[in-house]
């Protein structure tokens, strides 16, 4: 029982981190209908900034810089690349983000080199015991921060003028533009928020029990892509649900790999993708999606 509880808590914590990343995909998709394949590189950039800065300026300022830097990078990509292609189809725009990802990832991965960069977080390897269940402090922090960030985002989405503009743009871009919504600002804002969330996620992907940031960290973002699709790529609730679902699935698959031969040998890594394929076969819009992502 304790083992199960531990698995669930750990699964939820990493699920919350996936949800942060998935939310980034959803925000960009809602406001621009683009699937942002450059998201992994934003995540890597945010994590890298924290890793190189924390020694000099301390962890919290470094985290702030990482979040701001990734947000700025996101907005920059939107401004320099996507805005020039505004008239292109969403498909073309999604494809161009793949090119952006290749360039950014190669450069950041080169800077990281073969190193494993610690992020200097304050939690270290400390753990908390709750009724026999051992949980790392970093996991609790991940869960807390992710929930807080998502709440703040949802509130902003609902009540700020930016959120209103974004929802309007998501409903109907042409009408929103006629109503005075500045689509450029909405989409740059969406990219910036996505970048910020990615940087936060990067932090929690690199803290205990992972020794630090390395060039493979961006693969985690690719695991959050199924999370976004499972939830429905236009649904913020879906991102949360999809992220948690994937985190828990992964944790259970790893936890019970000794009980079932099928789960052995890295099954957990592909579980998100299998889950996604199943969901797409049954419900192409995702669990909470409304917009026709796919058409029968």
């Amino acid at each position: 029982m304790t083992a199960l509880a531990e698995l669930l808590v750990n699964g939820l914590a990493s699920g919350a981190v996936y949800a942060l990343v998935a939310l980034g995909f959803v925000i960009v998709h809602r406001s621009t209908e683009v699937i942002n394949f450059a998201h992994p590189s934003l995540l890597l950039a945010g994590g890298y900034l924290v890793a190189v800065l924390h020694d000099d300026i301390g962890f919290w300022p470094a985290l702030g810089a990482g979040v701001a830097g990734a947000a700025a990078l996101g907005a920059l990509v939107e401004f320099v690349v996507l805005r020039r292609l505004r008239s292109g189809s969403h498909g073309t725009l999604s494809i161009v983000t793949i090119g952006v990802d290749i360039v950014l990832t190669v450069e950041i991965a080169r800077r990281i080199g073969a190193e494993v960069l610690p992020l200097g977080d304050p939690w270290g390897d400390r753990v908390v015991q709750v009724g026999g269940v051992t949980i790392a402090q970093a996991r609790i922090a991940a869960l807390g921060v992710a929930v807080a960030a998502i709440t703040v985002f949802l509130l902003a989405f609902k009540y700020t003028s930016w959120g209103v503009a974004m929802r309007a743009a998501a409903e109907d871009r042409a009408t929103a533009a006629l109503m005075g919504v500045r689509l450029g600002r909405v989409s740059a804002g969406a990219w910036a928020v996505a970048g910020a969330l990615a940087a936060l996620a990067a932090l929690f992907l690199c803290v205990f029990p992972t020794p630090g940031l390395d060039r493979a960290t961006s693969f985690a973002a690719l695991k959050a892509l199924p999370a976004a699709v499972i939830g429905g790529v236009d649904s913020t609730t879906g991102a949360l649900a999809g992220g948690l679902l994937i985190g828990v699935t992964e944790a259970l698959a790893v936890g019970y790999q000794d009980e079932a031969a099928l789960l052995r040998g890295g099954f957990a890594d592909i579980a998100p993708y299998l889950l996604m394929i199943v969901v797409l076969l049954i419900r192409p819009t995702g669990l909470f999606g409304t917009r026709e992502l796919a058409r029968a």
Binding site: A3, D125, T134, F208, P211, A251, G266, D269
Partner: protein, 415 residues
Amino acid sequence: MRTVRIGIAAAVVACLAAGCSGKATGGGGESGGVKTGPGVTKDTITVSALTDLTGPYAALGKGVTQAQKLYFDQLNAAGGVCGRKVELLVRDHGYDVQKAVAAYSEIAPRSAALPQVIGSPITNALRSRLESDKLLTIPQAWAHTLLGSRYIQLTGTTYDIDMVNAVAFLVKEKGLKAGDRIGHIHLEGDYGQSALAGSRFAAEKSGLKLVEQQVKATDADMTAQAAAFRKAGVKAILVSVSPKQAASLAGVTAAMGLKVPFAASNSAFAQQLLATPVAPVLEREYYVMTAATPFSADVPGVKKLAGDYQKAFPGQPLDSSVFSGYTTAAIVGEALKKACAAKDLTREGIVTAHRSAKAFDIGLGGAPQDYSQWTRPASRAGYIVKPDKAALGGTRVHQEPAESDLAKSYNPPAG
């Protein structure tokens, strides 16, 4: 249709015209009384390295390559071989087999030997071509499945031997006894499989129960594996994964309150881990089985190497990759010298010269190596070292090279 017919006619004409092609049909010859083969001209001998400077083993590749450069620079400064300079041609494959194969096609025709090939999938992919090209090759990989080729030389101990010695060490020094459980976390692929072959053998011989956990190269979080070991109640853990994964495992087990000794393959530790939060755990109970002499060891040759390397590459980490690079380059250097003495610098001549070494020792510590057999590891004795922040190179000797009785009775099946 007509176009097709004309095309075929044109092709035939072109093929005939090509008869005047000057495409070379391969090297070979003799100069100054020395028989020469591909890669050897009258003033240079070219040897090549297929390394990883941009992929997952970039740290290893960089250290090995720089150390090999150092060796050949020293060799050339001392007059080279047979009045020729030895030139090291380096190609980076980023651990991508296709790139490695392409690079091999480029460099093989102008190389006399390959003192460095990183990656056992790459060595396996090139194996038949290495054999038909007769190139003396030294892979930076120690899976026993690479044994069995006259042209491929593994240095020191193989992963399976290391794990046999590790189990012997745990039984002797950490009090493991028959009936105890012992964990082994290993990567999929050659490295992990080879290590597993050793641990399975040794566990059975010692009456231990082996708890196996296989992980993928991309796995980063070892929580589940640690939990499985805790559940099984293991008394010690054998580690054959990447350094980053090893760090995660050490951190998690410590956090879980599972205090057991670790005995690791030489590829499961990197000096950089001592900068991460798990350093104290590693310094406490982590033992690395390696054939490479640690730089903190009291061996004059190694001390000189450390000094030379730091002078040539200031600020670069001194770790086992440097040792390994230097010694592998030296193996090729010695083979070239012997081949020169035998007046045969053909590829076959170089291999023959190399295979005549029965107790290779260039004063860099460790046990003498026997290169005359290619179906058995060159040595069965390795150091046991412990991570230590204060030590030069990040490790210090815990036990001098010794061949355990268990290892003596073990015969790795050649691949």
